[in-house]
Every structure is written in structure tokens, then in C-alpha cells.
Amino acid sequence: MASAPLEGIRVISFGTGAVIPEWGKALGELGADVIKIESRENPDFVRTIGPDMNNIHGFNESNRSQRSFGVNLKKEKGKELVRRLIKTADIVGENFRGGAVRSLGFDYEDVRKTKPDIIYISSQGFGQGTPYTNYQAYGPMLAAASGVLSLWAQPTDPYPVGANVPLPDHMASKQAVFAVLVALDYRRRTGKGQFIDLCQVEVAACIIGEYYLDYSINHRVAAKVGNRNPFAAPYNAYRCRGQDQWCVISVLTNDEWMRFCDAVGNPDWTRDPRFADTVSRLRNVDDLDKLVETWTIEHEPREVMNTLQAAGVAAGMAQRAADTIDDPHTKETKALVELDHPVAGRRLYTNVPYRLSNATLPPSRRAPLLGEHTDEICRELLGMSPEEIRKLTEEGVLDAPSR
């Protein structure tokens, strides 16, 4: 059995929020040594959204499988330590507030002086070279600025409100992981590093590329597209038995419609000629959706899903996290992994989302406490003595964990 694909690769993460932290996690899961640069003075902002910076669940999800190096970048001695660390690194990633790494002396031009073949990815809301390059951007804002939010509503809604899902953050992190792996493979063959300028608002726009083609080719400006499919029915979210319980159903073909009718027990309305074929069903979709709901409302969403899937019809309940945790498929495929964190306690987290036949991946590691690995990084990678470490900690250059 082979080792982990990124064994021996070192990654330095100037990450905050979701994108670069989660990027670091994915590289750590592939076996890279990922070092997160943070300090009590300038922590990842997600650490600050609750009273205890080591007990933020979003942080603890996205920052797993990496080490925390508590080092103050406002101090020259801190910068020098990070520069020394970068000499040993292969990849650097940053999504600090626009312009921050430049003022700290760690943008690509600075870093390549230290390490000429470095692979450097910068992930900013609006990318480099635009009027908004330094705009402090968050995912929900980019969903709005990319056109995604304009589609994310029912046609009857006064205006879109989207969700508390910070799209496109968790997509941008995956674009960034793919990108640096491409760059790493290229460097293996050529010896050359490079700079990758990831633009998160474009990550969002890529999700709805087909609508941009509709705009360019068909001169249509799609808006508030909702749940229905203009080309197939029934295709919607249907209310089920219980409090705010829903199941979505996607019937795309006539064959699936016949299966659907059988699964719901062929009540009279399913034989109504108004629903006999796709065109008729689309023409009478309001009535159809109401009738479908007369069936779904009698059943719990999991039952609706199981019944339809058993008949070969695509259906899925609108799961809450508790539902997915208890789901038999989630359990059997080990899609979640239980980890013990000294502050957050035992929790479930998302597991590595792919199965590789010939790689041994390291076990998923819980998120670090702030500064948890400062001491070992100083000793093992920077060759510092306990005396030096103590002195710099007293000077406020290094942060050790507070517990």
C-alpha cells in the first residue's frame, strides 16, 4: 500500500474564514504538513464569533488536519520566523483581507524572493487587477454580486433572500485545492512554481454558467428560478407530515412518471388526461403540484423518499443536520467522522469525501487550539532552543496555547 499522496509537502496557510482554512484541511487530509499562521492579536475571524476561540464549530470543522503556529506578524521577529518557515514550504495560500499580505510583506513577490519555486494561491472576493481587489468580501456577498442570488428565489418572492449557506465559500476552497494540486504536478515536471489568482465571485458565476450562456445566446436574463423545472414535472419541494418537513421529487421522464404513479398507489388523479404526458403536466403544473402534495402531506419525508426511490424515482428529503447524522447511508459509508476536541468535546465532522484505492491517508485530525503547535514547529522546523522560544513568547512574538 502506498503512502499519502502529499506526504513530504509543506503548506503555509494565511487563512481566515472558510476558503483557505478549508483548503488547508483538504491538503492536510492528503498528507501534507499544513501550518496555519495565526495569533491572539490577529486570529482567524471565525474564532471571534463566539466567546471561546477554541470552541467555534465552524472553525473546528474547516481547520482540521493542520497545525497552528501562533506567531505575531506585526512584529519583525515574527515575520522573520515565518520567512524561515516558508523556505521549507512548497505551497502558500492566503485569503486575508485584500491587501493585508502585501502590507505584512508576504505577498507573492515577497515570498518568491525567499522561495523562488513557491506555489502561491491568493483567494480574494473580486480577484486581482480590478477596482474591488481589496474589498473585504464574504461568500454571501459574492452570491449577490455574481448573479447567483438573483436566481435563488421563488418566482413569487418579492426579492431573493438566499440562505444562511455561505455559497460560494465551500466551492472556492475546492477550486483552490484543485488548483494547487495542478500547480504541484506541474512543478514536479518543470521545477517551476507560480502564482494563482483565484476570484471568488467568478467561482460563484461558474456555478450558473448555463444561465450566462442563456443570456449571451438567447438574450434572456433569467431571474428567481425557484424549484420547478420548466421542462419536467412533477419537479418541486413538497410539504410532508410534520413540522416544516419537505421532500423534493424530480420526475424527468414519462417512464419515471409511471413509476411515480405506481409508487403513490395510482389514485384517480394520476390517470387524469391533464397529466398524461410531460407537456400536459407542465401546462397544469399548479394543479399537479397540489395533488402530489395531497399524497406527501400524509407521510413523513423519509417515507416519501424511501417509497419513491424504491420505485426508481429521484427524491430526497430536505434534511437537517440531525437527519443526515442519523441517515443509514451516511453511517454505512462512514461519511462522517467522530473526533474528540479538548474544548468542543466529541463531535462529528465531514470525512474525506473520496475513496482512493491505492493511498493511505492519515486519520482526520481535530482542529488545533490557537498556537497549539508553536513549540514543536519552533523546535523541529526552526531549530530553536527552549530558551529562545520562551523569550519570544514573553515578547509577544509567539503565542502558546492558553490551556
Partner: protein, 406 residues
């Protein structure tokens, strides 16, 4: 072409047997310069070609917008995998390939003798990725999915929309794109590892699992509090988007305000001209604002409506609070940002003509990353692959075509 930098992956050949679930995976590889060959059934081609809407609203194999977008930058050949001659030709192609991506239901490739164990006999270095709705194992492995089904199961849909209405699907194909991104990542990891080990490997990707991770993984640790005796339960999950990231009307449209930290809230108050009612200290607390979202919304309207989207967007940048205009598609397509970066790339397609296609969401300094060619017409590169490369004669081709194999 010598002066133009090559794509980072230009040394690799990828066979693409993917429908919409994996189309974006191979598009990602193609944008980096990999030679991606779409292998389509002769009758009607890839299922993606049948997905509406169509260019000019005319149903046609070359006109599906999904195909034109997610299958851009690829080459295309036809091949029926089921007859023995078809399987033989696929194996010949596998000998020349580095990567194969497929999205057939679990067990289908094996039924043809084209599963990984068989193909690695032909090419031990092959990296093969299977992208399926629910993965190769588990009780749901034979279930059917759709982009909306995966959004529902991913826990993102229940948080989407107005609190008193139905949950809303996420627009586009985010579940499939998340799975495609994760598949592309696993392929790159496998190729990188191959340089050391000499052997390829098999990657099993479940759209279901990837959608949870690709869209919003933070809910799982929050709601697994039950593993910890004594942990207080978090508030029930609901559609909180409007409270957390509120959307306000302004003079010429709507803006979304993402004020989370106290300094961001103070900056927002400055942007709105420091109105007395917003300066109450209690409003600085994020949780207080969420708990009193309806009252705050009513107060805010008076101030946001005094400004245009652009004024609020610019002022947010200046003062330090993230405010975004709710752009329609034409607003973004014509935005200074998209133009400055050349995000939309002009394509010229033999059937559809010229159009603007979203390019990759990043710029590379050392290698070329771009969309270089429109999606292939059905069987467009048959002659190039089967004759020029594999040495079949025109007569062989005609016989294969007649037999329905290509």
C-alpha cells in the same frame, strides 16, 4: 504556438465518459490544458446534449446550453461501449490515456468488463474516477439523484428561502460541480502519487457526500452536540438567510449586507449617515440583531432606500463593511470586475455561432489556463482519433459507423 505558455496539464490525456454529474470535472482538467476526449454514444451523444434549454430554444444535439458550457474545451468521439468491438476500441484508447472519468450507475462498467480492475490490466498507470449519485457502496448506491435532490439531502435547502415558505433549490448545478471539483482533486492527487509509485488508482466519488461538503459542512459538528453529555442544543435549523445576511431595497435595486463583527456594524452605521436609531449599543451585537431581525429590518429601510446599489457598494468598501449589490445576470456580465478580468471568453461554435462563455475562476502566471475551444460537435474528432492516431482506414471507419459502433 511556441510563444504561448502551455497548460499545466498538457501532458495528460483524459477519457471523458461522463454525463452532467462529471462534465465540470473534465472541463476543469481541459481548462488546464489536458487533452480531454469526450467518448459519446453514437445515437444522440452524451445525455447532457438532451438537457434543455437550447440555443435558440431549438432542441438539437449541438445546442444544449449545459453541454456548450460544461463540455467546452474538449474533443469528442463517438463509441458504443456495449458491443465487443466497442469495448475493444475503448481499451485501445485506455492504453493511451492517463485518466478516465465515468458516471454510469454502479456496476454498469463492470457488466461490460470495463471496470477499474479490468482497465488497469491494460494500463496500470490509469487513474479512474467514478462519479455517481450515491457512491459505489452503501444502502443508497442504486438510488437516483438530481441536482435538487442532492441540495435537499445536503442540508443546504432547508436553510434556503423565506422562513414561512418552501425551501428553495440552489441555482445552477452546485451539487454536481462540488462532486466534479472533488473528483478533479482526487484525480490530481492520484496523478501526483503516480509519479512516485508508477501505478494509477481508482477514485470513488459520491455526489451526495460531496454536496454536503461542497455547500455547507458546518452544520454537522454543531448538531452532533448529542455526543457530548451536557452540551446545550443549538437553536433549531431554519431558513435564517434573511436574518443573518439581510437583503434591503435601495434606490435602484437591492443590496445584501454582511455585517458580522462590531467594527463592521459601526462601519455600516457610518455608511448610512450615522442615524440615531442605529447607534444604540445593543445593535452592535450580532446575536441581538438576529433575534430582532424584523424590527431592525423595518428601521433600516428608511436609510438604505436613500442610496443606490453602487453608492452602498462603494461606501461599504471605503468604510469597511461588506455590502454587495444584487446583480442580475446582465449586471454581472457587464460589470467592471468581469470586464477587467476578461472572465467571459468569446467562443465561436460551428452551429451556435459566437457567444460569451464563463472562463475559469482564476488567473495563472506561469501556465495557460483558459477555455480555448467550444464543446465538440458529435463525433467531431472521430477521424483524428480513429484514423490519424489509431491507424484505422476510412473503410474501417465506415464499417464501424454502419454497425453503429462509432
Amino acid at each position: 504556438m511556441a510563444e504561448q505558455p502551455e497548460g499545466a496539464l498538457s501532458v495528460y490525456r483524459v477519457l471523458d465518459l461522463a454525463d452532467i454529474k462529471g462534465a465540470y470535472c473534465t472541463r476543469l482538467l481541459a481548462d488546464q490544458g489536458a487533452e480531454v476526449i469526450k467518448v459519446e454514444r453514437p445515437e444522440g451523444g452524451s445525455p447532457t446534449r438532451s438537457i434543455p434549454p437550447f440555443a435558440g430554444d431549438e432542441p438539437h444535439v449541438e445546442r444544449s446550453l449545459q453541454f456548450l458550457y460544461r463540455d467546452a474545451n474538449k474533443f469528442g468521439i463517438t463509441l458504443d461501449l456495449e458491443p465487443p468491438d466497442g469495448r475493444h476500441l475503448l481499451k485501445k484508447l485506455v492504453e493511451t490515456a492517463d485518466v478516465l472519468v465515468e458516471t454510469y450507475p454502479p456496476g454498469y462498467m463492470e457488466s461490460l468488463g470495463l471496470h477499474y480492475e479490468a482497465l488497469k490490466e491494460v494500463n496500470p498507470g490509469l487513474v479512474m474516477a467514478s462519479i455517481t449519485d450515491f457512491g459505489q457502496t452503501g444502502p443508497y448506491r442504486d438510488w437516483k439523484g438530481s441536482s435538487m435532490v442532492h441540495c435537499a439531502l445536503s442540508t443546504t435547502m432547508i436553510s434556503s428561502g423565506y422562513s414561512d415558505g418552501a425551501p428553495i433549490n440552489l441555482p445552477g448545478m452546485p451539487s454536481y460541480d462540488a462532486a466534479s471539483l472533488i473528483a478533479a482533486t482526487s484525480i490530481m492527487a492520484a496523478l501526483y502519487q503516480r509519479a512516485t509509485t508508477g501505478s494509477g488508482q481508482y477514485c470513488d466519488i459520491s455526489v451526495h457526500e460531496c454536496s454536503r461538503l461542497g455547500l455547507y459542512p458546518w452544520m454537522v459538528p454543531i448538531y452532533s452536540y448529542g455526543l457530548n453529555p451536557g452540551s446545550p442544543p443549538p437553536p433549531p435549523e431554519g431558513r435564517l438567510g434573511a436574518a443573518i445576511y439581510p437583503v434591503y431595497p435601495c434606490k435602484d435595486g437591492f443590496v445584501r449586507i454582511v455585517a458580522i463583527t462590531p467594527p463592521q456594524w459601526k462601519a455600516l452605521v457610518r455608511v448610512l449617515g450615522e442615524p440615531e436609531v442605529l447607534r444604540l449599543p445593543a445593535w452592535q451585537e450580532f446575536m441581538y440583531r438576529i433575534a430582532n431581525a424584523a424590527d431592525l429590518y423595518a428601521l433600516m429601510l428608511e436609510f438604505t432606500t436613500k442610496y443606490t446599489m453602487a453608492e452602498l457598494f462603494e461606501a461599504g468598501d471605503r468604510e469597511g463593511v461588506p455590502i454587495a449589490p444584487i446583480y442580475s445576470l446582465d449586471d454581472f456580465a457587464n460589470s467592471s470586475n468581469a470586464k477587467a478580468r476578461g472572465f467571459f471568453v468569446e467562443m465561436d461554435h460551428p452551429v451556435v455561432g459566437k457567444f460569451a462563455c464563463p472562463g475559469p475562476p482564476y488567473k495563472w502566471t506561469g501556465t495557460s489556463c483558459s477555455v480555448r475551444r467550444p464543446a465538440p460537435c458529435l463525433g467531431e474528432h472521430n477521424e483524428r482519433v480513429y484514423c490519424q492516431e489509431m491507424g484505422l482506414t476510412k473503410d474501417d471507419m465506415a464499417a464501424l459507423r454502419l454497425a453503429g459502433i462509432i
